[in-house]
Symmetry: C2
Subunit: 454 residues, 2 copies
C-alpha cells in the first residue's frame, strides 16, 4: 500500500525546484519514513528529490527504496553521480545491489568509485551467497588494548561518522587479530582512566567467514547479540554481521523452508517480483516429478483392476486411505523440518523422535481407524467383517505416514542435504504408493476374493 | 547436543565447594556460554553453581538456561532465594517464565519479591499473549529535554546499572509522555554543552501496547530498529520491545505458519518439549476434520460406482487427478500465505495475484495435461479419443487448484482470520471433492457410457 500523504507537496516542490523544502523533507524524517512517502513517485522523481538532500541523508533514504527502484535509479542516471552515491552506501548492502545490476553498467560504475571502496566491493563480492562473508559489513569500529577509556571515546567519536554500528567496539592488534570486544555501553560506564585491555571481554564468540548464514543467525539469536565478528582461519577480523541482516536471514530461510515443504523451488525475489515463467518453472519441475510418482500409483492400481471389478466398494475408500496417510505424513515432516531448522532438535535426537512418531502413529491411526470402521460398516454393500479392511488399512497407513514423514527429513539431514527437500507432497506421493499396496494387501487377506482375478 | 567440556571440572568444584573457581567460571565466560557448559548438569547442580556467582551473573546465566531447567529450579528451591533471583531477571522474561509456574508457587514467590518488581510483574502479566505489551520490557533509560549532553551522560551512567538496553534513550516529560529519542551513539558524538531537546529525533516511530507482536516485528524489521517504544492511547511510554524479542517473534510466527500450513495446531513449546498427548490432539483434531472431508469424497465416488464398473480404467487415474490438483493448490496456498506474512503482498494486490495464478494454472495444467494424455493413451484398454478425458480433467483440476489455493487464503485474510488456517491439506481436501466431480463430469461427457448406470 503506497502512502500518498506527501505526494502532491513533493511533486509541487519538484516542479518549483524548491531546494529548501525538499532538503527539510529528507533531513527531518526518519529515512525509512521518507522513503515510504516517496513510494508513489517514479524512480526518476525520487532521484530528483534525493538531489536536494544532504549526502548522508541521500544514501540513508536510498537504502530504504524498493530494490526495483534502486536498480532503475542506478542503471539510468549519470554514472558519476551514481558512483558518489555508491561510495556512501553501506558496504554489505551495496554489494547485494551491484549483483543485480547489468555487469557492463556495474563495471563502468566501479571505475568511478574511490579506490578503497572499489577494493572493498570486489572483496565482499567474492564471498559465496549464503555465507557469513556475504552478509557481513566491513564498517566497524576498531580500538587498541592500550587505550584508556577517554582515548577510546575520542577514537570512537572520530570513527563513528563512517560507521553504521558502533554499539560494539572491536579491540584488535596492528594486524587486525581480534583481541577482545567492549560494548559502547561499557565504554560509557567505564572509568576515564581505565585501560580498554582491562575492561574488554576476551571470550569473544565469532563466526567464520565461510559459515552458513543460517548458522550465523542461530548463533546471534542464541546469544542475543547485536553484531558478531566474522573472522578468517587465522582469527583476523574481516567484518561484522549485524542484527538487521540476521532478521532478513531468518525471514528468508523460514520462507525458503515453507516453499520447499510445499514443493516449490525457493524464489530469490518476492512473489509479485518473480517472473511468471520463472515461477511456473519452479513449481512445474516439482509437479512433474510428483506426477511421475502418481503414475507409479496408477500403475500399482492397474494390477488390481480385477479386484476392483469384483469388490467395487473398495474404490470408494482409495482417496480416504491415501489422504489420511499423506496428511499424517505431512504433519510429521513439517514438525521435524521446522524443529531442525530452529535448532529445536538435532540429528542425535533421532531415536526419541522416531519413537514419538511411532506412538503418535498408533494413536492417530487408531483413532482414524475407529471412524473408518463406522464409515465402512454403514455402507450398504459391506458386511461388518469385510468392513475391517478399512480400519486395519488406516492404522497401518497412518503409522507408515508418521514414520516416513519423520525418517525421511532426518535421513536427508544426515546426508548433508536440506531436510526441507523432503517436501510434504513428496512424502505424500510415497505414501500414496505404499498406501495402495497396504490397502490391497489387507483387502486380499481379509476378503474372499479369488486371487486369480488380479 | 550437550557440551561436556567443563562438566568434570564443574562437578569437582561442586564436590569441593570451591567458591573461587566456580565464581571465576560464572563471571569470566559469556553468560550464554556458561549456561551452555552447564547443560549436562542436573537442575539442582546448576543452581548450586549459580550460588557461587555474583548476583548479576547469576540472573544473566539463568536466563540462558533451558526453560524446563528454569521451571524446575524455580519450583523446587527455597522461595526466598528464588524470589531474589526473580527480582534480578529481565522484566519481560520473568513474566513469561512465571506464566509456566504452578499458580500456587507463583503466588508464594510474588509475596517475597520487592514491591515495585511485584507491581511490574502484575502489570506486564495482564497484557494478552501475542501483543506488544506481552513482549515489551519496562527497563529503559529516560532522559529530559532540558538536560545537556554532559548531564544526560551522567544520568545514563546512573541508570545503566539496571537497564538491559541503553542503545536508545527515551526523552519523556514528567508524566512519561514521549517527546523524542536519542541514540547512545548520538549522545557520545554530541557536544557536551548541547541540549538533548535540540539533538533528539522528534519523529519517533512507536507501536501501541495492544498491537499484534507480528506487526511490531514487521515495523522493527522495516526500519532496522534495535528497539521500539510501546505506548498507550495517550502516547505515554509503557515500555520498549527489543531486537532479541523480535527475532524470537519472527521465528515463532514462521514456525506457527508452517505448522498451520501442514494442518497442525501451533505448538506453544518445542517439538520434544510438547507432551505426546497434546501433540497428538493438535494433529488429531485436524486429521479428523480432513477425514470427514475425505468421507465426502468417498460419498461422491459412490454415486459413480456404476460408471467405474463399466469403464474400470477410470479408477487408475483417480490418485493422479486428485494429487495433481492438491499439489498445485498447496503450492499456491503456501506462496500466498508466506507472501502475506512477510508483507510481500497485501490484500489490495488480490486481482493481480488471482490473474497470475490463473495464468500459472493454465501453464502448469497444460503441461501436466500433455503428460497425462501420453500416460492414458498408452494404457492398453483406452482409445486415443477416450484418453482425452485425462488431460482435460488435469487442466481443469490444476486450474481449480491454483485458483482455490490463492483465493481461499486471501478470503480468510479478508475475513480477519489467519490465512494459514487455510492449510494445504484443507485446500487439497476441497480439491479432492471438486476433482472427482470434474473427472466424472468430463468422463460422462466424452465417453459413451449410458447415463442410467450411475
Amino acid at each position: 500500500m503506497t502512502n500518498t500523504l506527501y505526494l502532491p507537496e513533493l511533486r509541487e516542490y519538484l516542479a518549483q525546484n524548491d531546494t529548501n523544502e525538499l532538503r527539510e523533507f529528507c533531513d527531518a524524517l526518519h529515512p525509512a519514513r521518507a522513503a515510504e512517502f516517496m513510494e508513489g513517485l517514479t524512480p526518476q522523481e525520487s532521484w530528483e528529490v534525493l538531489h536536494h538532500a544532504s549526502e548522508e541523508a541521500r544514501a540513508e533514504i536510498f537504502r530504504f527504496f524498493d530494490p526495483a527502484v534502486q536498480i532503475e535509479v542506478i542503471s539510468t542516471n549519470p554514472r558519476k553521480e551514481v558512483a558518489a552515491l555508491i561510495a556512501n552506501l553501506r558496504p554489505d548492502e551495496r554489494v547485494d545491489l551491484l549483483k543485480e545490476i547489468e555487469p557492463r553498467v556495474c563495471d563502468e560504475l566501479l571505475e568511478l568509485v574511490p579506490a578503497d571502496d572499489r577494493l572493498d566491493i570486489l572483496r565482499l563480492r567474492a564471498y559465496p551467497e549464503g555465507t557469513a562473508g556475504a552478509v557481513m559489513t566491513t564498517d566497524f569500529a576498531r580500538l587498541r588494548e592500550d587505550m584508556t577509556v577517554a582515548e577510546a571515546t575520542q577514537e570512537v567519536r572520530r570513527q563513528a561518522k563512517q560507521q553504521e554500528t558502533i554499539f560494539y567496539l572491536y579491540v584488535v592488534d596492528a594486524h587486525d587479530y581480534l583481541r577482545g570486544l567492549i560494548s559502547l555501553r561499557d565504554l560509557v560506564l567505564g572509568d576515564e582512566e581505565a585501560r580498554i585491555g582491562d575492561l574488554m571481554e576476551r571470550d569473544v564468540v565469532v563466526v567464520h567467514v565461510a559459515d552458513d548464514q543460517e548458522e550465523v543467525a542461530q548463533t546471534m539469536a542464541r546469544y542475543d547479540f547485536l553484531a558478531i565478528p566474522v573472522v578468517n582461519q587465522a582469527n583476523q577480523i574481516l567484518g561484522i554481521a549485524t542484527y538487521d541482516d540476521i532478521i532478513d536471514v531468518v525471514v528468508e530461510e523460514a520462507t525458503e523452508d515453507a516453499h520447499r515443504i510445499a514443493a516449490i523451488d525457493p524464489l530469490n525475489t518476492g512473489y509479485l517480483q518473480t517472473q511468471l515463467f520463472t515461477l511456473t518453472w519452479k513449481r512445474g519441475m516439482w509437479l512433474m516429478i510428483l506426477f511421475l510418482g502418481s503414475l507409479i500409483t496408477a500403475y500399482t492400481l492397474s494390477s488390481y483392476e480385477g479386484t476392483f471389478a469384483r469388490v467395487p466398494w473398495l474404490v470408494l475408500f482409495i482417496p480416504l486411505v491415501i489422504s489420511s496417510g499423506g496428511n499424517s505424513g505431512s504433519q510429521s515432516a513439517t514438525l521435524i523440518i521446522t524443529a531442525l531448522s530452529t535448532g529445536d532438535i538435532t540429528l542425535s535426537d533421532w531415536a526419541r523422535i522416531v519413537w514419538r512418531e511411532f506412538l503418535m502413529g498408533i494413536l492417530l491411526g487408531g483413532f482414524l481407524a475407529m471412524m473408518g470402521y463406522i464409515a465402512a460398516a454403514f455402507h450398504g454393500d459391506v458386511s461388518f467383517m469385510d468392513a475391517t479392511v478399512v480400519p486395519l488399512t488406516l492404522l497401518l497407513v497412518v503409522l507408515c505416514g508418521t514414520l516416513s514423514g519423520s525418517l525421511l527429513p532426518l535421513l536427508f539431514c544426515r546426508l548433508g542435504l536440506d531436510p526441507a527437500m523432503m517436501s510434504n507432497p513428496f512424502v505424500a506421493c510415497i505414501i500414496d504408493i505404499v498406501g495402495i499396496l497396504i490397502y490391497m494387501g489387507v483387502a486380499l487377506t481379509i476378503l474372499e476374493v479369488p486371487l486369480a482375478g488380479h
